[in-house]
Amino acid sequence: MMLNQFLILSAFLFCTGIYGVLARRNGVLVLMSVELMLNAVNINLVAFSAFRASVEGQIFALFVITIAAAEVGVGLAIVLLIYRNSRNSDLDNIDQLKG
């Protein structure tokens, strides 16, 4: 297997995540796109771990998975608060700091 096929798949997933973060309006969907980006990074880490035949990449992937779980918990709590304050989870409505 080429190394690049994993890296380019992961680049594709990352760019899909970028598009989702920028283009989605709903807070839950933005968090899902962030998960896509974190997964792209994990694929990179595990691919390099196999490429270098060392275990460090897998350890970092495990840490990223843990942090992603924490991030989703806090992120969904924030989306829930946004929903309670403005009766929908539309991120375009959060513009109270706009001058």
């Binding site: 080429m2 839950v28 969907l29 796109s33 694929i43 969904l76 709590a77 989306v79």
Partner: protein
């Protein structure tokens, strides 16, 4: 015969998984039904787990299945339910969709050029890994840990070299748990 088999099968498996993941990822960011987006995300996450297993990172693969598909997607579904998101087809994109697509395509192009330039001819050789891990488990079953050359495994690396980050991340998880409860609680 066997060598040819083992050289072709991972590539075929990779392309099947990669095409499924790519299409599902596109659907996650374009579908108009938010519950479908969560379910397409499951396909992407399961594909990533399959890739980890393909790369002989079985532990990471199963952690991915347990944590992401088992916990994170369920959290997403709870989030969809609690925010009473519309479950029918609705317009979920904002009006900067085209700018977002241009940014994503530009970044994709830059990344592909850089990756082809940097890693164009590099191959992943898995046979060494596979044999080493097989030998390791066989030795543990037969002789135990009697001074042989043991390749670092995920467990020993986490609990020896990376034990401090491991403990730090457990504190982070606790803090995130308490923080999420404190924020989302009705008072």
């Amino acid at each position: 015969m066997l060598a040819e088999y083992s050289a072709v099968v991972p590539d075929v498996a990779f392309w099947i998984i990669a095409v499924a993941m790519g299409l599902a990822a596109l659907r996650v960011v374009t579908t108009k039904n938010i519950v479908h987006a969560a379910l397409y995300l499951v396909v992407v996450l399961a594909g990533a787990a399959a890739l980890y297993i393909l790369l002989t990172a079985e532990f990471v693969g199963w952690v991915q299945v347990l944590v992401y598909i088992g916990a994170v997607v369920i959290l997403f579904l709870f989030g969809i339910m609690l925010t009473r998101a519309p479950r029918t087809d609705t317009e979920l994109d904002n009006d900067q969709r085209w700018a977002a697509a241009i940014v994503a395509l530009f970044f994709m192009g830059v990344l592909i050029v850089l990756l082809v330039d940097a890693f164009g001819a590099k191959h992943i050789v898995l046979n060494d890994n596979l044999q080493a891990s097989g030998r390791l488990t066989a030795d543990f079953v037969k002789h135990g840990h009697n001074g042989q050359v043991v390749r670092p495994t995920v467990g020993s690396a986490i609990f020896q070299q990376y034990v401090l980050p491991f403990e730090a991340i457990s504190m982070l998880l606790l803090a995130a748990l308490v923080g999420a409860v404190a924020m989302a609680r009705r008072d």
